[in-house]
Amino acid sequence: MPAIKVQDLNYKYHDGTVALDNVSFEIEKGESVALIGPNGAGKSTLLLHLNGILHSVTSRESIRILDESVDPKKIHEMPKKIGIVFQNADDMLFMPLLGDDVAFGPINLGLDKEEVQRRVKDALEMVGLAGYENRVPHHLSGGEKRRAALATVLSMESEILAMDEPTANLDPKSRRELIGILRKLKEKGKTLLIITHDVNAIPELAERVIVLNKTVIADGPTRDIFSNTEMLVEIGLDVPVITQLFEILQCFGYPCDVLPLSIGGAVTNLTETMEGGDGHVHLHIHKHTHSGISSARNKYHDHAEKHE
């Protein structure tokens, strides 16, 4: 039974603009999937369909969450199945105190007081904000707000967690902290759907990537999707910096059949290469080196210019 099943989902805005066009995909329980796409690709719109907040006559039967269709009249029951973390934390933290915000979902689920208190404590601990119950959300830092917003959804203990750009606009430390929390959730087997532009974080967080541009352009393992750089560049997306670096290294004769996607992958790749080369890596300039580098750099440079 898939956790999320979307079949031929279509949606138009009030002005007639097509937001989603025959979108179809399935996500199995325990899978961690990244949803990428350029701005205006319909990613956030898709997210709001998953718990029935946005819906149309045709969309109702197009989505099944944990094998049940989404009934717009029963949106209040959806948090048991799917929790959604919005992009702007200020939209998620609407109560006077953080403790109230984290308790908001469990109270609405009709849980008793002790259970609500346990969940508030657990959720805040999980995001590293233990003891923040009586803090005023407005006074939290950007990173704390983002983790607090996540806690307000974790407290509902939904089976599926869907997030809209969780690492956007965070400083490096806050970004790392948030990625760490998401990795823990992934390791615990939580079903994750993460909308993100942060391609460098995807290899750590998702084993599968769906590329959306109003319709599903590509869907497959993270490595396969990032191998198709032409497709990504064409629709205005990026590949991880490490992958770009190793593509350049290939031009210097570095033997690399499978480009690494992350620092961890790069370390493994370099270690294996050096072990196979008497403890050394041999780089050299040959007659195609410069043209190769230019070609690789232009690919990403052109992409940047094309989308400016």
Partner: protein, 262 residues
């Protein structure tokens, strides 16, 4: 960082330690009691009582005075107009065009002074009522007192988002300043600030929509419930008896005329 609204909520005083539910009920009772009072001497006595409460609460008088001046400006027209309009025929003292100015005697002046003092006293009492507990605690107290949930929600959202909106406006103002805008007493300034405020309204509407989505995503069905625990101590009841007792006393005093001879 403490919000201005909660700036004196962290002090320690008997009023701060008073259960917020009994505090709100007792002081509101006193405010309504004063509003229904039509005896200058008792109104002055009520004002003295309010000053004592403020003194006990340790909220600085300068802080309260700074806010009362705006209330005074608002009620000042009563002080000017009432002596010429309310009671009796009066004595004509001036004639400007079709308007005749009649002075209605010392009772009219007393009446005007009484209205002004009542207004100032009522507003003064708001400070020990609201300013001695953090706003979130007061909101929870109101929820516990079964104030209509819609009103509690409105208060809670106002408290939560007023700072967000004021920050947005501050950013907008900085953006204007960085592009050479300077506040002046001219039409251009008024138009520019009006447009900025209008944009803020649009932004707040959009944010309200997003917040509503977030609330629905978390199972919101129209009612907001929070977790809170209030416990009543004998001291809380004693405070309530003193304040409510005074609220009742001033009306009993009117009924029996005990202060006639004073």
């Amino acid at each position: 960082m403490i919000s201005e609204i909660d700036i004196y909520a962290g002090l320690s005083s008997p009023i701060h330690r008073w259960d917020p539910r009994l505090k709100v009920i007792s002081i509101l009772t006193l405010i309504f009691s004063i509003m229904l009072l039509y005896d200058l001497k008792l109104v002055i006595a009520s004002m003295l009582f309010a000053i004592i409460l403020v003194y006990i609460s340790r909220i600085p008088f300068s802080f309260i005075a700074g806010r009362l001046k705006w209330v005074f400006l608002f009620v000042l027209p009563f002080l000017i107009i009432l002596p010429f309009t309310v009671i009796g025929e009066g004595v004509e003292i001036a004639h400007i065009g079709s308007i005749t100015l009649n002075f209605r005697g010392i009772e009219s002046v007393e009446f005007a002074v009484m209205i002004v003092i009542k207004a100032l006293t009522s507003v003064m009492l708001i400070f020990p009522m609201i300013g001695t507990s953090r706003m979130d605690v007061t909101i929870k107290a109101l929820e516990d007192l079964h104030l209509p949930n819609k009103l509690v929600q409105m208060l809670a959202f106002t408290y939560r988002y007023i700072f967000v909106l004021s920050d947005e406006f501050m950013l907008m103002e900085r953006s204007l300043t960085s592009r050479g805008f300077k506040r002046r007493s001219n039409l251009y300034t008024i138009i520019t600030l009006s447009k900025a405020i209008a944009t803020l309204f649009v932004m707040s509407f959009e944010q309200a929509e997003r917040v509503f989505y977030a609330m629905r995503s978390k199972g919101y069905k129209g009612k907001v419930t929070t977790m809170h625990e209030f416990t009543l101590r004998p001291q809380d009841w004693f405070n309530a008896v003193v304040v409510c007792g005074f609220a009742i006393f001033i009306h009993v005093a009117v009924l029996y005329g005990t202060l006639e001879g004073i």
